[in-house]
Symmetry: C2
Subunit: 193 residues, 2 copies
Amino acid sequence: MSIDTSILREIFNDTPFTREESILIAGKFEKIKLKKGDTLLHADEVVYNQYYVSDGCLRTYFMDNSGKEHTLQFAIKDWWISDYTAFFTATKAVMTIECIQEATVYKVSRTSMESLYEGTPSLETFFRKKMEKAFSAFQKRILFSLSLTARERYTSFISTYPNIEQSVKNYHIASYLGITTESLSRIRKEITQ
Amino acid sequence: MSIDTSILREIFNDTPFTREESILIAGKFEKIKLKKGDTLLHADEVVYNQYYVSDGCLRTYFMDNSGKEHTLQFAIKDWWISDYTAFFTATKAVMTIECIQEATVYKVSRTSMESLYEGTPSLETFFRKKMEKAFSAFQKRILFSLSLTARERYTSFISTYPNIEQSVKNYHIASYLGITTESLSRIRKEITQ
DNA sequence: ATCCTTTCTTACCCTACATCAATTTTTCTC
DNA sequence: GAGAAAAATTGATGTAGGGTAAGAAAGGAT
């Protein structure tokens, strides 16, 4: 365990920590390198950690009873990823996190987080705000899934996440949008005409 | 402005505050009574406040270009409600909050919240955890909308929120599930047979 | 460069849910 | 409790997107 304190600047942006705080925080993180296809977290595993993505691309997906995959989230540089429902309650994951492009992530456990919050309120503020943004993003996604057609959701996705689009397969995007890869193909054809 | 400090126990459960903190916090809240049909927040208004629901039932809905309503959230006792995306960033609401059953809510502004966080870390912890739960709920909702049929989403809704079901109209539920009221009617018929 | 695997596309038909148009039931109001 | 308004149901028909199957492109591996 432990990472270089200089990386904290990347992870926590402009959040100011004292020298002591930095050392304490850095001591709780661990650097992990992943290759394409690696699984960072398996469904049914108890979730102890969340991960900061420094580089590469990952996705969280849920596999339903019929074996179909549903992508909940992609994560690229500066995103955090985990099965958060399971992470918050230290229960079993329903989702799997897969590396879809060679990645470097920094891992930290929930218990580490909780203990760090105690001595470092600015850290808690940082995560509260992260949480607020993530919450907003999910809210928007729900509204979109309720009110937009598949085609509209696709064009919205493309313009919102142009960087992600390059890193992922079309069938990943389809499973994120809630449509089949065939439908996405038809939509793409329609658009380019 | 200001409410009785005794109500804080209801709002913040078992969160312990000092006498001084309690007075400070209570000073930032305001009690509001709503009748059925009242609008607590209009789309296009800048959102300064969030609301704790002490009693009654409200819903947040989004109206799309074609005039169709999409219910994002219901709120009953002990839930918080706002257009959170707009609340966090002090921007204009895209959603409207409507009282659907005579309600009592307690209002507090974002700036009040931010200033209270500074002196009372336990308050920030309280809201961080609330946020985590809300985030999980939204995540679950996204997974359900990706992987379940309309019928499955309906039965899941009914069993998850039996208390809400009684307070709301079927067309509210339909707009929450992302289907038409006619489809919901057919699903209900199917189930009772 | 060639073979093999993965990904994407296309064509055909199918289904879950939508839309439109009444009609019935429930709820509100005086 | 009669009449009006709102909500729910039902039937007929339409459509976005799904399922299946096959082929075409694009990437890797050797």
